[in-house]
Structures are given as structure tokens and as C-alpha cells.
Amino acid sequence: MGRAILLDKVNIPGIRAFEVYRAHGGYKPVDKGLREMTAAQVQQEVIKSGLRGRGGAGFPTGLKWSFLDRKSDKPRYLVCNADESEPGTFKDRYLMEKLPHLLIEGLILSSYALGVKTCYIYIRGEFKYLVGILETAIREAKKNNYLGERILGTDFSLEIYVHPGAGAYICGEETALLESLEGKRGNPRIKPPFPAYKGVYDCPTVVNNVETLATVAPIISMGGETYAGIGTGKSTGTKLISACGNINKPGVYEIEMGLPTEDFIYSEEYCGGMKNDRMLKAVIPGGSSVPILPADLILNTAKGQPRLITYESLSEGEFESGSMLGSGGFIVFDEDACIVRNTWNLTRFYRHESCGQCSPCREGTGWMEKILYRIEHGQGRMSDIDLLVRIAKNIEGNTICPLGDAAAWPVASAIRHFRGEFEAHINVPCTMYNGQMKEERAL
């Protein structure tokens, strides 16, 4: 049985309300943190916990916090990244919808640790319905003196503001997010300087994912060391995985780090096996930006070890035979899915979402999309396949922000593992979706 640390209260009726949440042990971690611990101690627990960022890159949270420029006399800010727009990832939305107060708890504790007086939740524009939920939670917390001036009678004061985006995936990239928060066009900034020194309004800023910040509450409640005891190796604690695709039970699951992917896909507790008993063909294990893996490589590593849901295991084999945990969007394909069509679809997304600042990403994403569209529709040429590999290579690593990599990896990995399927599409329009082809356009 998996252990629920984040989602333990999720099924309690009315848990969104402060009173109910409080009655079930909510805000105890905040009481503990603010009353019994110093800010440095709270940060120390987070460092001990081994918590790594849940937004995609997996950067150690305690370490990121320690980079924050504390010498500056400017105000410091905490920004909660709730822009969740990665195809296949829908865990933050679930968490905010079901347990808004858990996030508020995490934000209070993190702000306390960082010495922050103002915290922003930058939320994806399409999540309009969540703005009200979060603002209600903030209001309730304020009424109960968990937010506002002199929280719980201490010297610590905090305000949280919810700021909706305007519908751009790129605004999830932390520096584009900061630009957008400042009311500008959401173009990623050129780094350095990093947000820890020059973030929002040129002030020292920490940007963390919703799940990362929410996890701070259970860490303070159970202690960093206990948290670090869960999971394996450098992947501590639990992780929310949003599973979708051709499985029996799509949804958001909290798993203990180290769960074998096979158990995750086939056990009744989680995905419940493949829909209609089809064969497993491939999985994108960490949201659309990470490399796709064919069935044999998602279940076992190239060395024959069972593949586990951890940062280390999923990336074992690097780009040859591995992938990444990413943001935890687990997309499952069965034997009837067309990899070419899926790759084209993802590339269409990245083409649409590229901010357009740097040449390789702006031009490369569009070029790959046009080629993949042709291949999928039976107008490709054999040389297009190697051309795609070359374009992906020329984008990767040469851009301002990681969106370029995110656009290149799915293409490169799909061709690496499913080259035959691309070749079969040359001169033959995709047969898997015959009769369903709606989007027509001039080639």
C-alpha cells in the first residue's frame, strides 16, 4: 500500500473549508513551525528531507533556498508556480482543487523559512475556477490569523496574492513567469542573473512548484529525517503522478518514490492495467517534455533492472535508453496508438507555445512540425527522418530556456525507439486514424 502524505485528507467531505481542515489536524504543522521553530530550523528540516523540486527539473529545494540572496536590503519574494500546462500533467490542479489549505500551509512555512513577507501564486489562466477556491482559502486563513499581520501573535507577517496567467505554457518557465507577473510579455530571461538574486521586480525571489511547496507542511509535521526515510536513494518522499492514456483508471495518484513502473501500470491500486486488455506500447513518464520509452524500456532498464518511479531510475540509460521523472505526467500508449501522430501532436504544441525569442526554438519547432505533419499524412520522404534528428540536435542545448530541449527530446526519442514506424509512414498516410482525420490544411 502506498503511503499518503499529501493526499491523506483528500476524501474527507468538505475538506476545502478551513474548519473541517483544521478539525482533521490541518495547520498543526504551521503552529509547530511558527511557535516552536526558528526560520533557520524550518529550512534545515527541508534540507534534511532531501525534497527535490516537483516542477520538472528535480532541483534540491533546500539547496535552492540557500542560494537566496539574504544580504540584499530589498524585499524577498516567494512565487508559487501553479502554471501547470504541460500536456499530461494535472497534479497541481488536483491538489489545489481538493486541498487548497495544504498549499497555504506550505506557503506560510516556506515564507517563514525564507523571510518572505509577500508571496504570489501564479496560476494558469485556464484554471479560473481555482482562483476563487484559493482566494476563499486565503480569506479563511486570514480570518483565523494564519495570514496577515503578526501571524499567531509572532513577529511574522505574510500576504498571499493569486495572479492568473493569460494562457501561455511558456509562463511556467520561472523567469518568463516573473516577467508575466510584472505585467510584461512572458519572455524567458537570459540567465544569469538567477531569480535568487534578481527575481520579480529585481528582488531576490524563490520560485517553486505547487507540489514542492505543499510538501513542506508534512515535512515540518513529521520531521525532515522521517521524510527522507520514505522513498529510495536521492528520491525521497512521495510523488503525485497524473496518469492518463489507454489505462483503466486515469487519475492522480500519490506514490511512494521507488514504486516499480510495472506495479503502477498494472496494479488495481493505481492505473488498473491497460484498457480493453490491449498491449502496452510506450510510455511518456514525466510529462510531454521528457523522452518517450517503449514498453520493454519502461518496465525494465537496459540493464534488466526493474524500472522504478524515481529520479535516478527513470533517467538511467540517459537518452539512449532512459527518460526522466519530470513533472510526473504519466502518459500510457497501447498498441493502437500511432507514435508518429503523437509526436506530431506534441510538436504542434511546442510550436504553438514557443515564445519566439531565440532562433533555434522559434524556427526549429515550426520546421519539425511541418515535416511531421507531412510524414503523418503520407507526404514524407525517407530523408526527412534524419533531417528531424538533425533539427532536434541543433535546437537542443542552444536555446535561452529549456523549452527548446523539451521540444527536441520527444522527437529525437520517438525516432530513436520507433524509427520503423516513421519509415512505414513514408508515402503512406497514417492508417491508424483513417477516416478520423479532421484537421486539413494546405501542405
Binding site: C358, S359, P360, R362, E363, G366, N394, G397, N398
Partner: protein, 322 residues
């Protein structure tokens, strides 16, 4: 002072200097091409990626190489840094890729473009591009937008370097122009097509590395290589009045800022000098402007090429399908 090595050449520079600036102090072949960086425009650079270099050694203190190629225009030097530009095959390969990306949607209409001969994209392509094209996708086309009587905007030629946006923001009082949309549909436009009229808007023509913004008063008048660039000056209440007059015989065909060997103007000039003073009597001619002929303006530039630029048909067909 920091010591930094670029392509095995050691130079000492001040703290805060970027790799590109350090390379420019050395000069010659080690200077990476810069399509978006412009010294006079704050916040420029980092976008086109043509100036990518490899940092083989981060600094004396932390000798690890940087994991990715970096934009030399926006990376400050560290003491003991070792940079590879022409000596790195990886850099050459990446730059070739960047040139290709900049060209796949470019209309390649140099024969009818006023910028031809002094175009940074032409230079970049001759210097680092491939000899064949690999794309057969339709090229991007934008609707034609009229941005007023003085400046002609050819959006299809734009490489989205942001220089003109920054120039408009920093040189003029009211920005009437900016970047719309995103990704490969991104477009320079004056907001709601307001004509740009203010005293320094003409400088956008000078900072534009390609023929996307050209001088309407000079449109189709002459090829730039037929004209003699002369340093000229006049008393001007708005700017320094120091310009380059492009002349044929005694006639002034156009006025631009005085550009240096990296294509950057020494000083920005006002619209009155640029657009209205085309009579030889308006100016005191100081003498020929010494242009470092790194551009295609200089015909000798072609000699270094091994082969001519032939567009090879791909796999036996030049006919686009459908």
C-alpha cells in the same frame, strides 16, 4: 582585470566585460558574429544564438567547462576563462544550425532588397551557412503592414532580433511599436498600425541587421555598393549631426549613422538629418568614410569560398509536392 583566453589568444579585460566584447578587442576571426546584440541598446543580445561559443574552462577558481554552449554577447568573462570559438567543431556546427534556422523562413529576395550588400544575414550565411538548402516547406508570409511614410517594413525578412523594439523603447519618447504574437508567427508591428513618427525612429533602420526595416526615401534608388560613403556633418539641434552620406557624384542618395566594423553606429542620429537633408549644401563633407569591408559590399569577400552557392535539388526533385 581578468585574464581570458579566446581561441588560444590571451587577453586582459576589465571585470564585467562580456566574452563578445573581449573577442572584439582581439579582433579578426575570433570575433563571433552577433545578429541581435547591439552595444548601444540596453538589454539586447541573447536571442539569435549566432554568437554561441564553448567555455572549455569556467574560471581559474572553478575550471569546470560550462555544460552548454553560451551566448558570448551576454556571458560575462571570469578570470582564467578559456573560450573556444573557431577552434571548436561543436561551435561551428551549432552556428551552422543557427544560420539554417534563420534562413528556412527567409524569403531570400536579396535581388530586390535594399539591404543587399550591407546585410548581416548575408554575411552570416556566406561565412557560416551551408551550400544547400534542406527545407522544402512553404516559407512564412506576413500580411503587409504600412508603418508610415519614412520606414518600410518587410516583415518576411525579419529575424526577430528585437533591436528595433529596443531602439524604439530607448531612443524615442513613446513606443508605438513592438512584438506581437509568439513562436514562429511572432511579428513586429506598430500597435494598431500607428505610424511611427518621432525624431529618432529612423535609427531602427540602422540597427536592423537585415532588410526588414529600410529607408523609404532611398527605396530602390541604388545598390549600396555603387555609392561612396562619406563622413559628413552639420549643425543640428536634435542630434550630433555626424552622419555618413552615401553619395554618387555630387548627389546624396541617403544618410545613415556612422557604422563601425561591427555594423554598430557610433551615434544615433535624428530623423531630420536622415530623411530631410539630401542636398549637398546641407552638409559639410569631411572625407571618405573608412569602412572596414567585412561586408559583402567588398567583392573580395567571395574569394575565400571554395565552392559557389548552388542550391542542390534534394533527392532528384525540385518540385514541391502539392
Amino acid at each position: 582585470m581578468f585574464k581570458i583566453t579566446i581561441d588560444n589568444i590571451l587577453i586582459e579585460v576589465e571585470e564585467g566585460t562580456t566574452i563578445l566584447q573581449a573577442a572584439r578587442m582581439i579582433g579578426g576571426k575570433v570575433v563571433p558574429p552577433a545578429m541581435c546584440y547591439y552595444t548601444g541598446l540596453k538589454g539586447s543580445g541573447g536571442k539569435c544564438r549566432s554568437c554561441l561559443v564553448k567555455v572549455a574552462k569556467g574560471s581559474a577558481k572553478d575550471p569546470r567547462p560550462m555544460p552548454k554552449l553560451v551566448a558570448s554577447c551576454s556571458t560575462p568573462v571570469q578570470d582564467g576563462m578559456v573560450v573556444e570559438n573557431t577552434t571548436s567543431a561543436e561551435v561551428q556546427e551549432a552556428r551552422k544550425g543557427v544560420v539554417e534556422f534563420l534562413l528556412i523562413n527567409h524569403p531570400l529576395d536579396c535581388p530586390v532588397c535594399d539591404q543587399a550588400g550591407e546585410c548581416d544575414l548575408q554575411d552570416l550565411s556566406y561565412g557560416f551557412g551551408m551550400e544547400e538548402t534542406n527545407t522544402r516547406e512553404p516559407r512564412r508570409e506576413y500580411p503587409v503592414v504600412d508603418i508610415g511614410p519614412l520606414i518600410k517594413l518587410h516583415m518576411n525578412r525579419c529575424i526577430h532580433c528585437y533591436r528595433c523594439v529596443l531602439a524604439a523603447e530607448q531612443l524615442t519618447k513613446k513606443r508605438a511599436h513592438g512584438m506581437l504574437y509568439r513562436g514562429d508567427t511572432m511579428e513586429i508591428s506598430t500597435f494598431i498600425q500607428t505610424a511611427i513618427d518621432n525624431d529618432f525612429s529612423g535609427n531602427m533602420i540602422d540597427v536592423c541587421p537585415v532588410g526588414a526595416l529600410t529607408d523609404k526615401t532611398f527605396r530602390f534608388k541604388s545598390r549600396v555598393w555603387f555609392l561612396n560613403p562619406m563622413n559628413a556633418h552639420r549643425e543640428c539641434s536634435k542630434c550630433s549631426g555626424k552622419v555618413t552620406a552615401w553619395m554618387f557624384g555630387n548627389e546624396i542618395y541617403r544618410i545613415t549613422g556612422r557604422k563601425d566594423q561591427f555594423g554598430e553606429v557610433e551615434e544615433f542620429i535624428c530623423n531630420e538629418c536622415r530623411f530631410e537633408k539630401k542636398d549637398i549644401n546641407d552638409w559639410v563633407i569631411d572625407g571618405p568614410r573608412k569602412i572596414k569591408r567585412q561586408s559583402v559590399i567588398s567583392s573580395n569577400h567571395y574569394e575565400e569560398l571554395k565552392k559557389g552557392s548552388i542550391i542542390h535539388p534534394i533527392e532528384g526533385t525540385t518540385e514541391p509536392q502539392e
